[in-house]
Structure formats: C-alpha cells, structure tokens
Symmetry: C2
Subunit: 260 residues, 2 copies
C-alpha cells in the first residue's frame, strides 16, 4: 500500500477499456502480479494465450494481491490470433524491432491513442510477450503499432508485471479526476486574514515589550518583513491558536525571569 | 526486458537528480528491486535509513537485475533526519494522511516540482516507508509535501518497488528526449509519390483488363477510391515492389487459366 491514495470519496472507474493479452506467460506468479498491477489502475480485462502451466493457476491467485476480479474474468486462447479476434487495433509491447515498419510509440502516446480508439467504439488489445524471450516476430507482425518504454539505454530490466504496471498507470494517469495537487485541511481550516492579523499584532506587542524593534527608524521595515513572513506561511486556525499560546508562554517565562 | 527500447543511439542520462530514501526497509530483495526500478529510468541515488538486515545485503544485489551502480552508491543512516540532512525539499510517498496539513500531489505534479527545485540548485529527497507499515507520522511530518499515487480506490496494492518504479518512470517521462511516436524505416524507405502513382497505374491497367471498372460511368469514382486507398497505406518502396510482383503473378495465373 506504499504511497497510495485510498480516499473513501473515490469510486470504481468504469467505461470501455483495452484488453491486455499475455502471450505464453510462463510463471503463474507473473500472471498474478500483472493482474494486481492492472487492478491498481482500474484495468480488468486480461486474456492469456497458451499459458505454460495451464489455467486456472493457483500461483497466480497467490500473487495477485487479491485481484480476483481480473483473474476470474480471464479468457484463455490457443493462439494470439484467437485472442485478438475482436480487436481492431493492436499494440505490441516490445523493444523497438529492427526489421519491421510500424509506428513506435511511448506508453504515453500509445495510451492516448488507445483512449481515442475506445471512445470511437473500437476494441483495442495490448500484447505482452513471455518472460525473458518477449514477443515473437509472428505476433509483433499482427500489431498495428509498437509500444516501447523509454528506459535507460545502459540498463533495461523491466519484467512482465512492471511493464503491465507502467502501461496501466499511463492508462489511468492521462484521464484521472484526481487533481494534481490538493492541500489537506481535514480536521481544521486555514486561518482567516483577521486571525493572521491578530497574531501579527500579538507578536508585535510582545516584541515591542522585548525591545526587538531597534533601531527605531528601522521598526516599520522590520514589522513589514514579519507580516510578509506570516502571510507566506500556510497557517491553519489551530496553528494560530498554538502561536498565541507560545507567545504567552514565552512572555510568562520572561516575566518570571525578570522577577527572579 | 519486456517492452523496452534499448536503442543504441541513446546515451546515459546525467544532471541533478533527487535522492530516494528508503526508511527501515525490511527485505533485501525489495531494496534490490527498488534499485533496479530506479536504474531503468536513470535514477542512481539511494539512501537507506536503518535497514532491518544491515548493509550490504547480498539479497539486494541478487534482485537488483545488476543495478550495482545504485547499490554501490547507497548511503546508510541511523535516522531519517540524518538521511535528509542536505535536502531542502522532501516528499513523503504515502496514502493521504488524515491529520496533517500538507500539499498532496500526484507523482506527475511532484516530479515536475522536483525537477524545478533541482534545476534551481536545491536538493530534493523522496521518502519511502517500510513494506506493509508505510511511513510513520514522525517521518511524514518532516516532509514538505505528500506524493500519493492515485490508485483504484477499490483496490490498492502497490508494493515498495512498484511505488519506486512509478516515481522513477514519472521522473523520466516528463523530460524524455524520446519522441512520442516514430515510424521505423530501418532497412527500407517509405515509397515516394511517383512509386505509388506507378503502382496505381499498374493496378488500374490490370483491373481494366479484368473488366473490374463496371458500370463504365462509375469507373472514375472507383479509380479515385482506389487512389485514396493506396495513398492511405504506409507503403515502403519494398511494399510497392512486392505489390507489382503480386499483380504480375495474378495476371500470369489469369492468363494461364484463360488458355486452359
């Protein structure tokens, strides 16, 4: 659950979505991890072509983090052609091929294109090759376009589930309703201008008493600086109350010390 | 290596980058997987706070897919404060906290902000909590902002390495020099207009002979449709040559059949 937002307000996403087709996946664990990766970003439609260890596979369930909705809906096919039968546009996730003439897209571009096709009522498939070996040329030849994750040229080690995760993330990222930045004000509220003004007054009063504003001709500029400082801080009402308390406490301490 | 682009033209990325700080990571395997995830997208600076099993950890190396450059550069710290000592801006990756007042950003927004800070010469840190438990409030309180991956509210199961992978991907995605879409023309070239014209002429000639354009008054429109069809196809010079060969072969076959 690292770094995730499970706000209760949000709801399950719906609408048309692409099918993710795993061609000859070997380990059930990887199928499960891919299913979990998909579910994180609202993708539910997985198809398998000739999984090595058959289907269903208990190891897939064990590694899916509970993405039963994806695994229960899996369809199994003998050939890639059969798995793609209803797809009018197919993306192959693979390294850039050396001898095929196809558009090569980033995940970002590919998912934008997939969204547009789906919105126009077309069915879209994404092909993922087996672990290690990757997609064979015969499968890549079926694709209308290549998706290549632009990894570090000096180090490329994305595995099957990671590749699925990144594409699923892109699927979601581009049309998310989550605002890019929000300020959380859950149990309190941001301080009003009058509250900040009163804090400023309190602070000035205490600092006057402590002979802080010296020399006298610089006092106006010093007070202005303080006001700028306070207005720059994202203070809540609670912060303001605490600050008043701090000022009173420091004043009592000073008063006590003065009388000692 | 699923779906990755390891074009030989590309070079290692450089320039300032954030530090990724794993707080009390438990399993060496996860540290290794996080290091591998970072290297895929050119991030090299990992720091560890009190790793449970000490450091170095042979299990980290085994799972890093060979990201020795990250693991060799790891610094180990007793406290989160020490690990962040040089950072002037800190992001905490965590679910949206219920009782803290901080900006909450998507990975996209956070990485854009991090890029801007780094470009201004500031040092930026990203905090990642231990597996399962996640970051403690005392660590989150050190952060200037929260990063929350907007996962499916009905299903959130990102693990530590996946969270690192998505942030590293975002880091790279926003300033990648890889074009969003390229057409690969490796061993051949796209057909010129004159080549396509000649193919059209050849096709029309053969179709005229086969009495395809019928009724006669519709012939101009039918020819125009064919020309539109050909111009829509992303033909290469090789495709055009093959098409000429197909037309000749079909013609020979028809001629043979006609004489039988």
């Amino acid at each position: 659950m690292a770094g995730t937002d499970h706000s209760e307000k949000a709801v399950e996403w719906d609408g048309p979505q692409p099918a993710l087709v795993l061609v000859q996946p070997q380990m059930g664990e990887n199928i499960g991890a891919a299913a979990g990766a998909m579910r994180n970003f609202g993708l539910d439609r997985m198809r398998l072509v000739a999984p090595r260890d058959g289907w269903p596979n208990p190891k897939a369930a064990a590694l899916s983090s509970g993405a039963g909705r994806v695994l229960d809906g899996v369809s199994v096919h003998d050939t890639t052609a059969e798995a793609l039968a209803d797809c009018s546009y197919v993306f192959a996730t693979t390294a850039r091929p050396r001898d095929m003439i196809k558009p090569v897209m980033t995940p970002e571009r590919a998912m934008a294109h997939a969204r547009a096709l789906l919105a126009a009522g077309q069915q879209v498939g994404f092909l993922f090759g087996p672990e290690r070996a990757g997609l064979e040329n015969a499968d890549i030849a079926r694709a209308n376009a290549i998706v290549s994750v632009p990894v570090n040229p000096a180090f490329a080690s994305l595995n099957l589930a990671q590749c699925v995760l990144l594409l699923a993330y892109e699927w979601r990222r581009q049309h998310d309703t989550v605002p890019p930045e929000v300020e959380e004000l859950c149990r309190t509220r941001r301080a009003s201008a009058i509250e900040v003004d009163k804090l400023q007054d309190h602070l000035e009063e205490k600092l006057e008493a402590a002979h802080f504003f010296w020399p006298a001709h610089k006092a106006p500029a010093m007070k202005l600086n303080l006001r700028n400082l306070l207005s720059r801080l994202p203070l809540t009402s609670a912060d303001v109350r605490i600050s008043h308390g701090i000022l009173r406490a420091l004043d009592r301490r000073r008063a006590r010390r003065d009388t000692e």
